[in-house]
């Protein structure tokens, strides 16, 4: 049967079970968009390609499937760049499709031509430039395979317009992908597994650093069993939140720059650090030379290039985390570490009094109150998508997650503007669930055009803006390290309630602490999307904080007088 390259493209997506594509049409994707009319795939028209990229990213994180974003050549493709990098840094499987100018014009600086495979070479797991319609199907198949297997990541396929238009005889080839140099299926050596068992068994003060890899591998039950059997406390990294139930007695909380003090202290005093699917990011380790100085380290990761990259480890187990833990578990005898767990408990005591929630009400509305109330009102069951900055850290600190795949945020790249579009993608992945986008006033304005996308798709999500009139995290660094010289951080925002209303959505403004709960309840009851503009304390900071480059137990703590109310 004769089909065009564009038709082949959509058929390939159907074979990959793609249900939704986020995109923005343009000159070089016209044939693809024309063929879309006949395809069952739902296309979401975004307001900017960056939005499409983040939506596909959020969709992939929440669904476990590969996300797809589609853009035209030139500016369409370059607008994807931030979203592609974001997916790369957080190991999210997204296939990016870009149109390219007709192949005879490639390299001639044609209108809207850009070397997108060149530009995205370092920010994709792999990419393809396709100019022959016969290559479309193999490339799409490989792209999905590469994106989802091993350590996931973004793959870009750039398809020239003439390849989309050409008609060829075609049948789908469903033979398995074979790439000689690609090894997503490594597994640890038996000797290393044995050494790991012995090391784990001899540990007195072990701690698990639980990363994103647990969620990607689906190893939540194995980690739970591991922790309970060996009585090892668990610290979930920012992207590992949800990998271990937040209310579990062995759950410590988040480590690192804005981790709880006792978590960092636990790491520094531990004699064994078990890194499960995490990559020792500098926001977790602080000063590398002083990181976990007393501990032996066992690192389980599927990406061999992560081993010994930041932290030299004693034992490296390269392989899928779930499979690796399944191999380790039968060999592990139950252990008790009562003394160690008691010690950690004693460190918690001091920190709790500094926590803003436990202190007398001084009449001010703090962001922490908002997140805490949201957590209580939603019984910790909502899907929370945060933006980047203070809002992200407060969301991570005060919304406790019991289940996996309930907190979504831009970790590695720290992309402001991620929250709203990612939340749209999350909602597409899990339409039955309650979705809350949490953003600061700064990050929200970066991608607020996607409110139109929400309205056009008639979606229901809830948006909480923690509005402090500052680029809060940068302001906080200026306060601590630049002598309070607030350079370019005060920000005059629009009336967000009116912005919501202009899109046919509901907007609510909250300025007092006592109105938080009722606004949240209202938002949950209203069938359409609701945006709540919380006017929070303007110069509040995220505590505790490890200054950049310091050891993780050298933390700036919330000053006691401020915490106790003025």
């Amino acid at each position: 049967m004769k089909v065009t390259g564009a038709e082949i493209f959509w058929r390939c997506l159907e074979y990959q079970k793609v249900k939704v594509v986020f995109g923005y049409p343009g000159g070089t994707t016209l044939p693809i968009y024309d063929a879309l009319v006949e395809s069952p795939v739902h296309h979401v028209l975004t307001r900017h390609e960056q939005g499409a990229a983040h939506m596909a990213d959020g969709y992939a994180r929440a669904s476990g499937a590969v996300g797809v974003a589609l853009a035209t050549s030139g500016p369409g493709a370059t607008n994807l760049i931030t979203g592609i990098t974001n997916a790369q840094m957080d190991s999210v499987p997204v296939v990016f499709i870009t149109g390219q100018v007709v192949s005879p014009l490639i390299g001639y600086d044609a209108f809207q031509e850009t070397d997108v495979t060149g530009i995205t070479l370092p920010i994709t797991k792999h990419n393809y430039l396709i100019t022959d319609p016969h290559d479309i199907a193999p490339a799409i198949k490989e792209a999905f395979f590469i994106a989802a297997s091993g350590r996931p990541g973004p793959v870009l396929v750039d398809i020239s317009k003439d390849a989309q238009m050409a008609e060829i005889e075609w049948e789908y080839d469903d033979s398995p992908v074979q790439i000689p140099g690609y090894r997503p299926d490594l597994s640890p050596l038996p000797a290393d597994l044995q050494a790991a068992v012995e090391t784990i068994q001899s540990a007195r003060r072990p701690v698990i650093l639980a990363g994103h890899g647990i969620l990607i591998s689906g190893a939540m039950l194995e980690v739970l069993e591991f922790a309970e059997r060996t009585q090892t406390p668990v610290a979930c990294t920012l992207l590992g939140i949800g990998a271990f139930p937040g209310s579990h007695p062995l759950s410590l909380g988040m480590p690192g720059m804005h981790g709880e003090a006792w978590v960092n202290q636990t790491i520094q005093e531990a004699d064994l650090v078990l890194a499960f699917g995490m990559r020792f990011d500098d926001r977790v380790t602080g000063n590398l030379k002083q990181f976990a100085p007393k501990a032996r380290k066992i690192h389980i990761d599927i990406d061999p290039s992560e081993i010994n990259k930041n932290v030299p480890v004693d034992i490296a187990l390269v392989g899928d985390l779930k499979e690796t833990l399944q191999k380790l578990l039968p060999a592990l005898k139950p252990a008790r570490h009562d003394e160690w767990l008691d010690t950690i408990q004693s460190w918690k005591g001091d920190s709790a009094v500094r926590d803003i929630q436990n202190l007398p009400d001084n009449g001010h509305l703090y962001a922490a109150h908002v997140i805490n109330d949201l957590w209580r009102e939603t019984q910790g069951e909502a899907l929370v998508v945060s933006d980047v900055g203070q809002n992200q850290m407060w969301a991570a600190q005060y919304y406790r997650h019991e289940k996996p795949f309930t907190y979504f945020t831009s970790g590695g790249l720290g992309t402001m503007g991620f929250g709203l579009p990612a939340a749209i993608g999350v909602k597409f992945a899990r339409p039955e669930e309650e979705v809350w986008a949490i953003a600061g006033d700064g990050g929200f304005q970066m991608t607020q055009a996607e409110l139109s996308t929400l309205a056009q798709e008639k979606m229901k999500i809830n948006i909480a803006i923690l509005n402090n009139g500052y680029l809060g995290m940068v302001r906080q660094w200026q306060e601590f390290f630049y002598d309070k010289r607030y350079s370019a951080t005060p920000m005059v925002g629009p009336d967000f309630v009116k912005i919501a209303e202009a899109h046919g959505l509901t907007g609510i403004r909250v300025t007092r602490r006592e109105d938080v709960v009722s606004a949240i309840r209202q938002a949950r009851e209203i069938p359409g999307t609701v945006l709540i503009d919380f006017h929070v304390e303007k110069e509040d900071s995220v505590y505790p904080m490890v200054p950049s480059g310091a050891a993780i137990d050298k933390m700036i703590r919330r000053p006691v007088p401020q915490a106790q109310g003025k």
Binding site: G118, L121, I130, D135, P180, G181, R183, P304, S305
Partner: protein, 181 residues
């Protein structure tokens, strides 16, 4: 210290760019780089020499393996291997110095591959030190042009390193696959 890496890669457009990017991104300087086809269709072989004082050599293999098109990478620095560089040296050779130059060519077991009125092109194959040696002694006669291919290296005997990983994967060589891009 000089480190010699050998990689087998898929023979596709852009693969060299990907490999070089691994070094560029981390500000690792490449001393020499050669790429050529192998006896196996679809597979190219790259030899890269770097200075370990300026490069985190232990990170190169893991980073290279991240590339989808890279099939195999090995560090041959500490393995028994033969390494060769080829140079063509165009040297000024008027009648009064010509015989002296030809004597040097003889001593170094190099070859004259072109003779012009006032110059010669000398071809020499050998390891880096041998070529450096000839260049040094020719310098006083006036080198007009010099080109070197860069180091190529091969393990002695039956290769233990390259191709081993293939067999572990149960993949048979030569691999034939369709060129996608």
């Amino acid at each position: 210290m000089r480190h010699t890496f050998v990689a087998l890669v898929e023979d596709k457009p852009g693969v060299l760019n990907r490999v070089v990017s691994v070094f560029r991104r981390r500000l690792f300087n490449i001393e020499s780089l050669t790429v050529s086809h192998t006896h196996q269709p679809g597979i190219s072989r790259i030899t890269i020499v770097v200075d370990s004082d300026k490069t985190e050599v232990e990170r190169i293999i893991p980073y290279m393996h991240k590339l989808i098109n890279v099939i195999q990478v090995e560090d041959l620095t500490h393995e028994p291997c033969v390494s060769r560089d080829l140079a063509m040296i165009k040297v000024s050779a008027p009648p009064e110095t010509r015989s002296a130059i030809l004597q040097l060519v003889e001593v170094f077991r190099a070859r004259v591959v072109d003779v012009a009125n006032d110059s010669l092109i000398i071809e020499i194959t050998g390891d880096k030190e041998k070529i450096d040696g000839l260049v040094e002694v020719l310098q006083p006669y006036g080198i007009i042009e010099l080109v070197r291919t860069g180091i190529i290296a091969m393990e002695r005997g039956i290769p233990r390193l390259l191709n081993k990983t293939y067999e572990n994967q149960g993949v048979k060589l030569p691999i034939e696959y369709k060129m996608v891009s």
